[in-house]
């Protein structure tokens, strides 16, 4: 049998649209694959380019929510935020197994299944990274009383961490910029947050804003650095343990390590 391969955009909507098409085009089967980004061409396969259609993605989302509940949906959202090239396939198979009724009990408990386990692991990975961002990102106050944070996470976590900060700082104007993906999560006081993309041409301008200081900023940064330094008990010094908890890759944007 000739394999079907659906090629979709690297985004949550992209993958979910592809899953919709699998069913619509009656391609569902163990050999069908969802591939993200460029098609890597194989002989003996039928390729389908899938264009992203948000309303179709939404349909898949609501099916998952209805059939498998909120927990499963959260696992899938987090898994789809990862940069793993196999995420689309794993999510597709997981949903397919669920719809086929192959798993007894909650879908995400079926860890003996390789695809479900993959979704589980990807999701856990992204969860950890989102959590690390919540811990380690630092805001800097720039002119106009705006708080700016810069991140470069491995997974696309901006939209996943915005709710946390929006709840925490309802009266603040703040922006979280993922300079790796050119995304900005934006929150204005008392308003709902959103994520915007910016173009490469804006890089210099974004860097400029991220580099600004408000009047108080330098003093606060100095105070915090001193605080962190004093807090270490020298009789217990343990740099390895510090590194285990706080990997070096997160430090470039952290106030106390710059």
């Amino acid at each position: 049998m000739i394999q079907s391969i659906l090629v979709c955009q690297n985004s949550m909507e992209g993958v979910l649209t592809a899953i919709y098409r699998v069913y619509e085009w009656k391609l569902n089967g163990p050999d069908t694959m969802i591939q993200i980004g460029e098609a890597d061409l194989r002989l003996f396969a039928n390729y389908y380019e899938v264009e992203t259609v948000p309303p179709l993605a939404e349909k898949v989302a609501s099916t998952v929510l209805k059939r498998f509940g909120e927990d499963t949906w959260e696992f899938i959202c987090y898994a789809l935020a990862s940069e793993d090239p196999g995420k689309g396939q794993a999510v597709y198979r997981t949903i397919a197994e669920g719809l086929a009724g192959a798993i007894r009990g909650p879908l995400m408990h079926g860890l003996a299944n390789d695809d479900i386990r993959k979704v589980f692991e990807l999701s856990r990975h992204v969860h950890n990274e989102a959590h690390r961002m919540i811990e380690f990102l630092r805001f800097r106050e720039v002119e106009g009383n705006i708080l700016m944070a810069r991140i470069e996470p491995d997974a696309d976590v901006t939209a996943l961490i915005m709710p946390h900060f929006a709840d925490r700082f309802p009266l603040e104007n703040f922006v979280i910029v993922d300079t790796r993906r050119r995304l900005a999560g934006i929150h204005s006081a008392r308003k709902p947050w959103f994520v915007a993309r910016y173009e490469k041409e804006k890089d210099a301008q974004v860097e400029g804003i991220l580099g600004q200081y408000s009047e108080n900023e330098q003093e606060m940064e100095e105070l915090f650095k001193h605080f962190c330094k004093t807090l270490g008990v020298k009789e217990r010094r343990n740099i390895k343990l510090q590194q285990q908890f706080l990997p070096l890759k997160y430090r470039p944007f952290m106030t106390e390590f710059t």
């Binding site: 079926g110 009266l171 008990v233």
Partner: protein
Amino acid sequence: MEKLEILSDAAKYDVACTSSGSERKNDGTGIGNAVKAGICHSFSSDGRCISLLKILFTNECIYDCKYCINRRSNDVPRASFTPDELCRLTIEFYRRNYIEGLFLSSGILYNPTFTMGLIYQTVYKLRNEYRFQGYIHVKAIPGADPELIQMVGFLVDRMSINLELPTAEGLSRLAPNKHRKTILAPMRLIQNGIVSNREELALYRNAPEFVPAGQSTQMIIGATPENDYQILTVAEKLYQKFDLKRVFYSAFVRVNEDRELPALPGGPPLLREHRLYQADWLLRFYGFEAKELLSEDRPDFNILLDPKADWALRHLEEFPVEINRAPYEKLLRVPGIGVKSARRIVQARRSSQLEFQHLKKIGVVLRRAVYFITCNGRMMYSVKIEEDFITRQLLDCKERLPFDADGATYRQLSLFDDRRFVMGQDQLIRQVIS
């Protein structure tokens, strides 16, 4: 700047720095929320989490506790904050995502009630004027007016009163101005406050919350001669009789020269502290009792094995445990199986019979567990359940210790860590080790 340095330096020996136990959304009128599991924002050079602005209101003190850097008889620079200074600092740090909140303690200025009053003013302002809804942990000062302690309890998430030393004798020797009674009385007061608040909240959902993240305490380990069994028994009592959320153990750091204080050539007893934390987990989450882990005849933890492995080796008759049938509580007692793994096993075995390869897949680490479990009646390797053999195997899977670092070897650490060594009977400990 200098003030911050003096007053955070003086606070750093307190080990509690968690921001856990409260869950609260922002009501839209201020700044901050609280996350049940707590959030660490950084780690200091000793590998400890930085979660709260841990600081003293003042390091002035009328008392003279022998182990404390702030004691009256020490000649150190002194400083005090004003409530507004502390509020501003908290808010500015919090907005930048440096911290989860404030952990406020204090030396005793004039008298306990006066000091508690300053703390009250600070947290009152922080909550009401600065509209701060993040995490606050406050140290209650023993001997302060109970009413004041009560009032503070309605403003904060967690309160703690340090037991300081595990026994009353230890306390009277090293902290002559403190008394066991004045420490336990406010602890009881807070406990009762929490209980009656719970009833109130059940009736009126909008009643103000009293110390919602519970209370904790801290004991200094290794400054006085108590053994591990005594310490763990005290901790168990505190959990049972005072409903404490956490007991913290703080390896004694010798900051003062004093005849009454032990010399610690190997530095603070970190391995001992570590074993106590491990055992503390066993009490709180694994259904163990202190007297199962230690006894009068065996009053100290094994230097080479963690408390659970040590227990298992002395109770081989309870093993092997069958993964597909054993109740959750039994799974928890298997060395190498933690709360997460035990939960996953229980979940996964509902949908299929588990074999060893499934266990690996769901993330159960088998390295240590293999000697204690069967899957469908079979062990992974055919091994005898025999103490010497398993002990050797377990010692071979090197335990990852949090301080096995920075050049100090395991043996050095374990040698100096042992209580008996601290007490000067190094002969004995040499025998144990070699």
